[in-house]
């Protein structure tokens, strides 16, 4: 693990250092930013641990826990609200057995909220991985899960 982290960080050296880019690279490689990797990242970039933790805690995309195999970004944006997405969300939470911000027990899905996927003309929406699902109903949202084993 550490050697791989080192190889990821080798590609993140910049002047001046770019903490966000380094954290994004670590997350792209491991799926999350293990909190124990913070000192190594800070040392490599020549910044303090608190600089790194500050950026890590600021951005919603960055996570410090291993996510499920697939990440569901369920939109709570205004248009999805206007089209009553809460009904679909409730059904999805029931189906997955987990709430927003949690991972299903089988480790298959992490359910996250997102504020707008830019598909507001076809609300309500969610994205699984990079696949966008539009005009969701409780039924179609459940069916979408089957595309992501």
């Amino acid at each position: 693990m550490l050697t791989t982290l080192a190889s990821v960080l080798d590609r993140c050296v910049a002047s001046p250092p770019n903490i966000l880019a380094a954290l994004q690279a670590v997350q792209a490689a491991f799926g999350y930013v293990p909190i124990e990797s913070v000192p190594a990242i800070a040392a490599k970039l020549g910044v303090t641990d608190s600089d790194v933790r500050g950026v890590l805690s600021f951005y919603h995309d960055l996570r410090t826990e291993k996510p499920g195999r697939h990440i569901i970004r369920f939109c709570l944006g205004d248009s999805c609200r206007a089209t009553h997405c809460e009904r679909t969300l409730a059904a999805l939470e029931k189906k997955l057995g987990c709430r927003l911000g949690e991972t299903s027990r089988d480790g298959r899905f992490t359910l996250e909220k997102v504020y707008c996927l830019g598909n507001c003309a076809l609300s309500p929406n969610m994205m699984i991985g990079e696949e966008l699902y539009a005009r969701l109903t409780p039924k179609s949202a459940a069916a979408a899960l089957e595309n992501h084993p």
Binding site: Y59, S79, T83, C120, A121
Partner: protein, 485 residues
Amino acid sequence: MKVYIPDDSAAVSMGANRVAAAFATQPGIQVVRTSSRGAFFLEPLVEVDTPTGRAAYPNVTPASVPGLLRKKPTPISRIPFLAKQTRYTFANAGVTEPLSVEQYGFAALARAREMTPQQILDEVKKANLRGRGGAAFPAGVKWQTTADAPGQPKYIVANADEGDAGTYSDRMILEGDPYRLIEGMRIAGLAVGARQGFIYLRSEYPAALKKIRAAIARATEFGILGQDIFDLQVVVGAGAYICGEETALLESIEGKRGMVRFKPPFPAVEGLWGKPTVINNVITFATIPDIILRGAAWHASLGTATSKGTMPLQLAGQIRYAGLVEVPFGVTLEDVIYDFGGGLPRGCRFKAVQVGGPLGSIFPKNLLNTPICFDAFARAGGILGHGGIVVYDDQTDLVALARHLMEFTAAESCGKCTPCRIGSTRAKEILEAILDGDGTDADIALLNELGDTMKLGSLCALGGLAPMPVLTAMQYFGKEFRRRT
């Protein structure tokens, strides 16, 4: 025979890729992937050439593909939603192949190269182009300030952090006509003397990221971009709404927490890494090529006295014909919602409309006569913002919506200033109490007072505008708030 199918992610979310795959198995058919026209209620919209121009088949499914072309298509000019629009910035939408340099042409860049930097600046100033990201600040003034600023190097930054819920016009340009953005940024570089640019793109747009990266690679092959010409990079955001605020965006490009900076100094003077920086919204840059080609006078001839040109409005929420509507400033909100949008879906009744994203005011029916114009909206107590229009039906609980919007602000506040950081959390708590039936008249008075404090005391537009939807909801739908107390 050529069949044109959109490659836009909204069209793909309605099955455009499956439709394209179904056509690919048909003999004698050449599938051409285009962008979307923005009539999303018709997607997947499949088009063919006819002697009188393109004609279309709406809502195509893979099952309907065999034999479809034997049916008579509808000419695009006979689809009222599209025919009534004034398309300039989105003229290529649904027509061209997004990554074809030949089809795009870069004619405006060629013209700009024959002009002096000051001639370009004068043209943008005379056009009276106001920023389309939300603040509506005159682009020409920004550009001139950067051109005159002493620091080196100078930077061009495109704000593609389209975070306002209910908006998608940036996404459509990024996916559907990326060279228009690149050309606008490139012309800005010529005008102010910058040779490096950044596109700050939100992470929620993976398809846009692929397209704009491919477009940059292709433009580099054609000598339009390049390290010695104009170096353009994409920086991907990490899910923070505040990074759509220009100074927070610059902090984020620098790899820091997206904390808002004090202004002045303005980015035009001290921006990215402290250097003079032009930062504009995607649509602002995408409007530049037409201003250079058609002239400032053309742009200034469209619109109202103070809002010139066209505005791509984005219809969303409970609306029958949802999609992108580009029209000159001056048409009324009612025209847009009813003439273009067809009103609400069957069985739904109008309750309110929110224009300008999550910071936009909630308008009742009697404000639908407000013209689409930055200043008319300001006078009516709202914002036009980035042009998102979300319609709410009578099933919407406005207290719950107000609580949701304050929860959003509390989650997205950068935390630098107290009115926004603490105010949004306290306002959310008060709204939760009202929602639970524990509110009192004093709570409503307190909410109004807190809203005023946020409006007047916040450092940026997030804290300054966040109370607006709540205050306007209370102003126009006060009964709903009082009923629970």
